[in-house]
Amino acid sequence: MEQPALGISDGIYAYKHLCEGGIDIHEIVVKKSSFRILLYYIGTICLLATVCRTLLSKEGLYLSSLWSISFAGIVAKCLRCDPVKKESLVIMPTFGVQLEQHFWSGRVRRKFVPIGKILKPVLNECVTPVICYWSLALLLRDEYELMLVFMKLRPPAKMLVPIWNALCAFKNSDSTRRLADPHPKDSACSPESKLKT
């Protein structure tokens, strides 16, 4: 049964929570901003203008022109819009979670993580040379690195907390089910099935 979407919104992102047929879907959507699109076009035009000026000028390629092209390229890269339109987490009870990236071009990238592989979802504080932000990651069995739930987008903690709660509840329900039935039937997701094959 589909339940109405719940949402939180801020200036850049909007969070939507949907329940469809027992499946939990948490989406982080990038809001369209005409200001950012304008900045993207300005950056692109600057880069094109710099390249054209260098190619069309009689002096040819000098170090200064290479520097100006590089600088224009960096500015264009900083101002470009993120190709990602939305990222979502689909929680399928007893199966696992699916991480999806939807691009503005229409392309969708999906990654499924079976429930047996997930040890714990964690909220991390990340520090870069200029900013601190929160990220939601999965601690995976037999994996050294954490898996980010939202790889490109950086939603605020107020959007990540309900998703983290949902993942914890999902993981706890699986633990409860395993405790109740310590010898489940073979499934594609259980590690024991891999050993047997």
Binding site: D10, G11, N124, E125, C126, V127, T128, P129, V130, I131, C132, W134, P156, A157, K158
Partner: protein, 438 residues
Amino acid sequence: MVSDFFFPNFGGVESHIYYLSQCLLKLGHKVVVMTHAYGNRSGVRYVTNGLKVYYVPWRPFLMQNTLPTLFLTLPIVRTIIIREKISVVHGHQAFSTLCHEALMHARTMGYKVVFTDHSLYGFADAGSIHMNKVLQFTLADIDQAICVSHTSKENTVLRSGIAPEKVFMVPNAVDTAMFTPSPKRLSCDEIVIVVISRLVYRKGADLLVEVIPEVCRLFPKVRFIIGGDGPKRVRLEEMREKFSLQDRVEMLGAVPHAQVRSRLISGHIFLNSSLTEAFCIAILEAASCGLLTVSTRVGGVPEVLPDDMIVLAEPAPEDMVRAVKKAIDMLPGIDPQVMHLRMKKLYSWDDVAKRTEIVYDRAMQSSTTNLLDRLPRYLTCGSWAGRLFCIVMIINYLLWRLLEFLQPAEDIEVVPDIGPLQAQIQRDDLCEAQENQI
């Protein structure tokens, strides 16, 4: 707390920041440490008792210092201060570029700032002149400053021109629970002199090269244990070879801090030959372990220990040998346990934290001034330097305003307060006990 010097690096400044933070946490304050990344240690870490440390991924470029960029650290400093709801920014060590930049940004944003100077500097050489100018800039607009000894206070006031009434003297301390004497008293048949320091020029390694052979010649029953590493180690090895002292001078190499106590308690006398010291925590550690100290009379060293616990000498080989002789004669009257108990009463980090708290209270009471009122303070730094500093502060202010426009402070999420770890554990135990009762 902001400094380029923190764990996993070991030293006086690092220990000071760590122990002070732990004691301030015990007093109920919220403490966050900001330093640069050390290798793979980058991001947010929690150390003992839930002390939060930001290892900002700015790589060190020279002697553990981050590259001085003036304005590039503004975004990260601003973010950390806002998200952690900081009220006072406390910078440590004049040689730390991260400290100076963080204090500048904090002042621009209107926060209260406190600075602790841990070292003595000269006035004559090029490095000291530049360092002192940077210090003048930072301390021109500081709320309060702390020095670790009276000598250090005098030095800081002269170097920076800060008003002496703004400078407090809060000494370092020692963890007497960690540095305890040996339960069994050592026999005086063989006298062991311990030296544990970095083997560099500043720590008087060249003096040791002169003193050790003379002491070994005059006192046949004296043996040396030298712990530490550095560029002067080669000279000490050569001295050992030259005078055939291999069986009387033991070189340990770098000694991890956790093993310092075990090395100290194997000796009777601790020898410190530093050419300059603002305070010298090493002699506190030695005294806490029950060793009699022989030290050069430099900087703040005479203020550290009572006269019956330390023998002072001028930084010259002859005087040092005379002091070692005097210390050997004093040895039978030294009781390590009594010395340790005295150190427990004289120095404690809890006392340092309480005194630092008073400094913070004084800083919080100082008046808040805007940029136009603060700019004239920088003009006193020099005719050209003053104007340059004013321009730097104006640019910093404008950049801050730009950041406020691009990312308002309201958009920076505040980190939830979890409190010190012990309080958290007690809360969890209480909840569990209540649930069991129900």
